[in-house]
């Protein structure tokens, strides 16, 4: 796999420096330990910090700014960041109203944020996002993964924090949005971790991984590629089977690309998904299509549905000004 690299050890630092330069009005980069914060410190409010392995850009650094995150801690590619990064980020952005960590439910992320929370002196709470319905809920294992729905939690809770919600209110809201959000994806190709040099998994030209995670890790099954309409139906069956929406419900539909699939195809997925949701008597009230939670250059995409009420809709609509999401 050919990649733009100078020294693979420096890839993350160089990429972050480029991102900070591209968004000099929005972002401040700190190295050693690595974290990114808003350029303008937020007004007096609860601060939101997220983080995770790199390779999912624009998640999370692209969502730092007014109406969303206050800071993010990028780890090495597909490797969770470390507690010292989270502690330094919290110290830099805390305004005395508490720190909310938004964490994708992967063992590494959970353990590192947990250790940071144990060492924190400021009041803090954690929202664990586990929207991926490919992995069934079970008492074994780590449980469902946190994937593209994380953006929706960060956007909605970010708006509430900006409007003055307390730490407890942000935590409750984040848990509620998570429980109303479900995602599932399909991959056609693998991705290559730059330092590993070889693709993470082997997959034949005519095969797909159904229910794939955002690191190319396996989902429900491997099978032959099928028409988009059928894939969308199957993904939405799993998603709606988890959410049990009442007929007539309003939903937010997020079509997410994994990095190697053109927008041409993502909009096609959106078209198919709209048809399926309408046929189920649901109203697509808000839509977001694009590459937001990527897995390096993996081809494929995911669908996310969030059940909306008036409160969530107005928080979603609230102004946001970040590198990757703004309205």
């Amino acid at each position: 796999m050919k990649k733009f690299v100078n020294d693979v050890e420096q890839l993350l630092a160089e990429s972050l420096q480029g991102m900070a330069a591209a968004h000099g009005d929005l972002l401040s980069l700190h190295l050693d330990p690595t974290f990114v914060t808003r350029k303008q410190r937020a007004p007096s409010k609860v601060v939101l910090i997220s983080g995770g392995g790199s390779g999912h850009e624009p998640l999370h650094c692209g969502f730092i700014g007014k109406g969303m995150l206050d800071a993010a801690c990028p780890g090495q590619v597909f490797t969770s960041p470390t507690p010292d990064q989270m502690l330094a980020a919290a110290l830099a952005v805390d305004r005395g109203h508490g720190v909310l960590f938004i964490v994708k439910n992967y063992a590494g992320d959970v353990m590192n944020f947990q250790m940071a929370a144990e060492m924190m002196l400021q009041p803090c709470a954690t929202v664990l996002v586990n929207d991926d319905v490919a992995i069934e809920r079970s008492t074994h294992g780590t449980g469902r993964r946190g994937v593209a729905g994380t953006l929706i939690v960060e956007k909605i809770v970010g708006a509430a924090a900006e409007a003055g919600a307390s730490l407890q209110q942000c935590k409750v809201l984040g848990d509620r949005v998570n429980s109303l959000t479900a995602s599932m994806g399909v991959a056609f190709t693998s991705c290559t971790v730059p330092a590993a040099r070889r693709p993470t998994f082997d997959i034949a030209d005519d095969e797909m991984e159904f229910g794939v995670g955002i690191h190319g890790e396996p989902g429900r099954r491997r099978g032959p590629v099928r028409p988009a309409q059928q894939l969308v139906e199957e993904l939405l069956n799993a998603i709606l089977g988890d959410l049990h929406p009442k007929p007539g419900s309003q939903v937010l539909l997020h079509v997410n690309g994994f990095g190697g699939t053109p927008l041409l195809e993502l909009y096609l997925l959106n078209h198919c998904a709209n048809q399926v949701l309408q046929a189920q008597g649901l109203k697509v009230a808000r839509t977001l299509v694009g590459n937001y939670t990527t897995a390096l250059e993996m081809a494929g995409g995911s669908l996310t549905v969030t059940l909306l009420d008036e409160e969530l809709k107005s928080l979603w609509d609230a102004p946001v000004h970040t590198a990757a999401l703004r309205w």
Binding site: G75, T79, S80, T82, P83, G141, V193, A195, A196, E217
Partner: protein, 208 residues
Amino acid sequence: MNTQDIIAAVEAVHAGILANEDQIESLDRAIGDGDHFINVRRGCEAITAIKAELLTLPPAQAFSRIGMKLLSTIGGASGPLIGSFFISMGRDLEGSPEPDEKRFARALAAGVQAIKSRGKAELGEKTMLDVLIPVSRLLLRLVDEGSDRDTLCAKLKQEAEFNMLATRDMIATKGRAHFLGDRALGHIDPGAKTSQVALFAVCDLLTA
């Protein structure tokens, strides 16, 4: 045991990991996400880099410093797990400036217990604990029986190898491999492999 011994052991583990790069990488690509080797190597390099500072510390504090350094260097799930292992060993050795084998065996058990609590994992879940738990139990028993060093190391290596290989027939319920379900069958757990490699390196150093 003094801090010089700890550093020699770390260097031996580092060399062992490098010598087994291909196997560790291919196991992790099969049932992990391909970053295990890189993360463990980065951890070993970080410890080597603070060698001079470590040499000024007694064993308890050296272990604790190693743990904190690994915690802030490795990331992923390995960081908190391996970091907690060393931090707990350090805490257990507090007040023992020159721990003997029995003392060390107890500290190792405390370290393994810390991995269990942090990772909320038990024996048989296809993780590094499948090597570390039986090895730590056997070490406690052998030092209790007053076993000589050569026999002790030979038996520990045997136990590590056997239990590392046994992860091949396990279905993972913890760690990245658990997403694979049945598909992880037939593959050795990369964390169990690294643990076996590390134990072999230390035993070979002690019996060289």
